[in-house]
C-alpha cells in the first residue's frame, strides 16, 4: 500500500426490498483499498461480495454509508462517470460487435481520437494475445479468449481500478490456473488496483496482496493471505480458509485441559477457543516433551493424498482433529486406523480466536 486509498467504503449498508421483506445484503462494511493493490473479497455464496463490488462500480446505491474513489465521494455518481471498470462474470461481451469494437467501445464513448484508439486497442490485443482475431465475433471465441477480451475491454480504458467479479468462475481448472498467473502478470504490468471477487479461497490466497473475508454481509477479517491463514480472526475465517481444527475449553494458568492432554494458551484464562492448522501437528506414539501442546486420541481414518497423508484422530472427549503429514521419505503411514496416538504442536501454532 502506498498510503493513498484508491477505494474507500465507510460503513456501507445495502438493503434490498423483495416481496415486502427487507434483505440486508451488506451490513456495514468499512475498508480501504490501496493504490496498485491486488485486493480480494472472499466469502461463501450470498455473503454480499457482488453487492459490495456493484456499489463500488456504481450499479447499486448504498442504503447508508459513503463510497470514495481517490478521496472523492462518488456515492451518487453514476457508473458511466466513475473511473473504474468492471469485468463481469458472464463477460457481457457485446454479441453484435467484433472483438475490436468490443475493446474500442470505452475509448469511443470517451471520445478518444481515432489514431489513439487504434494504437491502444492494438496494444491491448497484443498484451492479451488476441492479435489477428480482432474481426472475430465473440461467439466465435473460446471461453478463455472471451475472458481475455472482457479483460482487455476494461483495461484499455486505463481505469484507476479494475473490478473483477469471479472472472474465472466459468473456466475449467487448467485454464483457471493459467489465467490466475496471467491476471497477476497483467496486474503487475499495468499497475492498476484490482478488486477481485471470489469464493475460491486458494485463488484468493495465491493472488492477493490483501483479502477481506466476508460472511453474511460483514467483513470478518481484513489482512494479507499469510496472516489470514496463520492467524484467522474468527472461527468463521478459520473454518472457511483451508482446513482447521477448533478446540474449546476452560484455560487456567495459560493451559487448557482437553482430550486427555493440554493445549498451551499463554496469557489466557477462562473459556477459550483455539484453532490449529492440520499441517502444524505432529503425530506420534511417544509422549511429547513438555513445552508442547499435546493431546491423546485414536486414529479413526487415514487417507492417502499423494503429497501427504490425512489423519482423522478422535480425542477422548469426542472432538475430532485432522492432521496432515507430508510424505517426505517413505510412503508408509506413521499410524494405522485404530492406533492410539499423541498429537503435538508448538504453542505459537495454537491461535486463540476470541474467548
Amino acid at each position: 500500500m502506498t498510503g493513498l486509498s484508491a477505494i474507500e467504503l465507510a460503513d456501507v449498508v445495502k438493503e434490498y426490498h423483495s416481496h415486502g421483506e427487507v434483505v440486508q445484503a451488506v451490513k456495514g462494511v468499512t475498508l480501504g483499498i490501496g493504490e496498485g493493490e491486488f485486493f480480494s473479497l472472499l466469502g461463501p455464496s450470498g455473503c454480499g461480495k457482488t453487492t459490495t463490488m456493484r456499489m463500488i462500480a456504481g450499479f447499486e446505491a448504498p442504503t447508508k454509508g459513503v463510497v470514495k474513489l481517490y478521496g472523492q465521494d462518488v456515492t451518487d455518481v453514476p457508473p458511466n462517470k466513475r473511473d473504474v471498470n468492471m469485468v463481469f462474470q458472464s463477460y457481457a461481451l457485446f454479441p453484435h460487435m467484433s472483438v475490436w469494437d468490443n475493446v474500442a467501445f470505452g475509448l469511443k464513448q470517451r471520445k478518444v481520437a481515432q489514431a489513439e484508439i487504434r494504437r491502444r486497442v492494438g496494444e491491448m490485443l497484443e498484451i492479451i494475445g488476441l492479435t489477428g482475431r480482432e474481426k472475430r465475433m465473440p461467439r466465435a471465441l473460446s471461453g478463455g479468449q472471451q475472458q481475455r477480451v472482457a479483460l482487455a475491454r476494461a483495461l484499455v480504458n486505463q481505469p484507476r481500478a479494475l473490478l473483477l467479479d469471479e472472472p474465472l468462475g466459468a473456466l475449467d481448472l487448467k485454464l483457471r490456473q493459467a489465467m490466475q498467473i496471467e491476471l497477476k502478470r497483467i496486474q503487475r504490468e499495468v499497475g492498476i488496483t484490482f478488486v477481485y471477487v471470489t469464493h475460491d479461497q486458494s485463488e484468493a490466497l495465491t493472488m492477493s496482496d490483501r483479502i477481506a473475508v466476508m460472511n453474511d454481509g460483514v467483513v470478518e477479517q481484513l489482512a494479507g493471505p499469510r496472516e489470514i491463514y496463520e492467524r484467522p480472526a474468527t472461527a468463521f475465517v478459520a473454518g472457511f480458509i483451508g482446513t482447521s481444527n477448533l478446540l474449546a475449553g476452560a484455560a487456567t494458568g495459560g493451559e487448557m485441559k482437553v482430550g486427555g492432554g493440554r493445549v498451551l494458551v499463554p496469557g489466557h484464562d477462562g473459556d477459550v477457543t483455539v484453532t490449529v492448522r492440520p499441517e502444524k501437528i505432529t503425530i506420534g506414539t511417544d509422549e511429547p516433551a513438555q513445552g508442547l501442546s499435546a493431546v491423546k486420541g485414536t486414529v479413526s481414518e487415514v487417507v492417502y493424498l499423494g503429497t501427504y497423508n490425512s489423519y482423522a484422530v478422535s480425542l477422548a472427549d469426542g472432538a475430532e482433529i485432522t492432521v496432515f503429514q507430508q510424505n517426505a521419505h517413505d510412503a508408509t503411514a506413521t499410524a494405522e486406523r485404530g492406533d492410539s496416538v499423541w498429537l503435538s504442536w508448538q504453542a505459537q501454532h495454537s491461535y486463540v480466536i476470541g474467548s
Binding site: 462500480a57 450499479f59 453514476p78 457508473p79 458511466n80 471498470n85 468492471m86 463481469f88 462474470q89 458472464s90 457481457a92 461481451l93 457485446f94 454479441p95 453484435h96 467501445f105 470505452g106 464513448q109 470517451r110 475491454r153 476494461a154 480504458n157
Partner: protein
C-alpha cells in the same frame, strides 16, 4: 428397411400436398394477374397477357385505395413499433405498479374478436365526436397490432443478459448511447419481426377498418366493394407485387441471418 422407404415416400408426398395446398391461392392470384379476360369476372382462364401490368394504375379509385393502405400500414407500423418496443422492454425488464394489468391487457387485445374491437372503437369515436378518416384507421391498426410487437419484443428482452447494458454504462456510455449501441441491436430481430407482423396485419385488415374508416377507402375495403361487380385483374397484380415484396424481405432477412452466424 423397405417399410421405412415406403414410409419416407409417403411423408414426401404428404409434404408436397401440404405445400401445394398452402400455395395454391397464391398461385391462382399470380396466374390470374396474367389472364387476358374479356368479361367482368376473372374466374376462367382466357389466355396470357401483360396488359394488367401496363394498366396497373388505370383504375384511379383502386390506386387511391392502395395508396391509402400503404400510407396507413407504414404509419401504423412505425407508431406500433416505437410504442410496442418501449412497452416490451418495460414489461420484460421491470416489475412495476400496473405491469400485471398491462400484461393482461396485451393478452386481451390479442384475443378480442375483431368484430368486437371494431364495433366498440366505432362507438368510442362516435360518442367522442371524433371524425372518422385515415387517422382513426391508424389508431385502430396500432391498437390491434401493438400486442404482437409487445409480445415478440418482450420474449427477446427476457432472454437478454442484463449485464450487457451494465457493461455499456460501465464503459462510459450514457443512457441513450447504451440503448442505441447495445440494447436496440440486441433486440433488433424481434423489433423487425414485430414490425413486419404489424405491417402485414394492417395492410389487409378489413373487419376493424370497415367500422372506423368514415369515407376513407382502403385496398381491402375497395376489393370487397368490387366483389359484386367483378374484381378487376389489377387487384391480382397488386396482390402479386405486395406478395413479391414480402418474399424479398423474407429472403433478405434469411440471408442476413445466415451471414451473421
Amino acid at each position: 428397411m423397405r417399410g421405412g422407404r415406403a414410409g419416407d415416400r409417403l411423408l414426401h408426398l404428404y409434404t408436397w400436398l401440404i405445400i401445394l395446398w398452402l400455395s395454391s391461392p397464391i398461385a391462382v392470384m399470380i396466374l390470374f394477374g396474367f389472364n387476358d379476360k374479356r368479361s367482368k369476372s376473372n374466374t376462367t382462364w382466357q389466355g396470357f397477357t401483360l396488359r394488367w401490368y401496363a394498366e396497373l394504375f388505370d383504375i384511379s379509385d383502386l390506386t387511391t385505395a392502395l395508396a391509402n393502405s400503404l400510407k396507413i400500414a407504414v404509419a401504423s407500423t412505425v407508431i406500433t413499433v416505437v410504442i410496442g418496443t418501449m412497452l416490451g422492454l418495460a414489461l420484460g425488464r421491470h416489475r412495476f405498479r400496473g405491469s400485471g394489468v398491462t400484461n393482461f391487457l396485451v393478452f386481451a387485445a390479442i384475443s378480442t374478436p375483431e368484430l368486437v374491437m371494431g364495433a366498440s372503437l366505432l362507438s368510442l369515436f362516435v360518442s367522442g365526436n371524433v371524425p372518422r378518416d385515415s387517422v382513426t384507421i391508424i389508431v385502430a391498426h396500432v391498437l390491434f397490432s401493438l400486442s404482437f410487437v409487445v409480445v415478440t419484443v418482450r420474449a427477446r428482452v427476457v432472454t437478454l443478459d442484463p449485464s450487457l447494458e451494465e457493461a455499456a454504462r460501465d464503459l462510459g456510455a450514457g443512457a441513450w448511447a447504451t440503448f442505441r449501441l447495445v440494447t436496440l441491436p440486441s433486440i433488433m430481430p424481434a423489433v423487425l419481426a414485430g414490425g413486419m407482423l404489424s405491417f402485414a396485419l394492417s395492410i389487409d385488415d378489413y373487419v376493424v377498418t370497415s367500422f372506423v374508416n368514415g369515407s376513407t377507402v382502403t385496398f381491402p375495403l375497395w376489393i370487397v366493394g368490387a366483389v359484386k361487380t367483378g374484381i378487376p385483374a389489377q387487384v391480382n397484380v397488386m396482390g402479386t407485387l405486395l406478395f413479391g415484396a414480402g418474399v424479398l424481405i423474407a429472403v433478405g432477412n434469411a440471408v442476413a441471418a445466415r451471414r451473421r452466424s
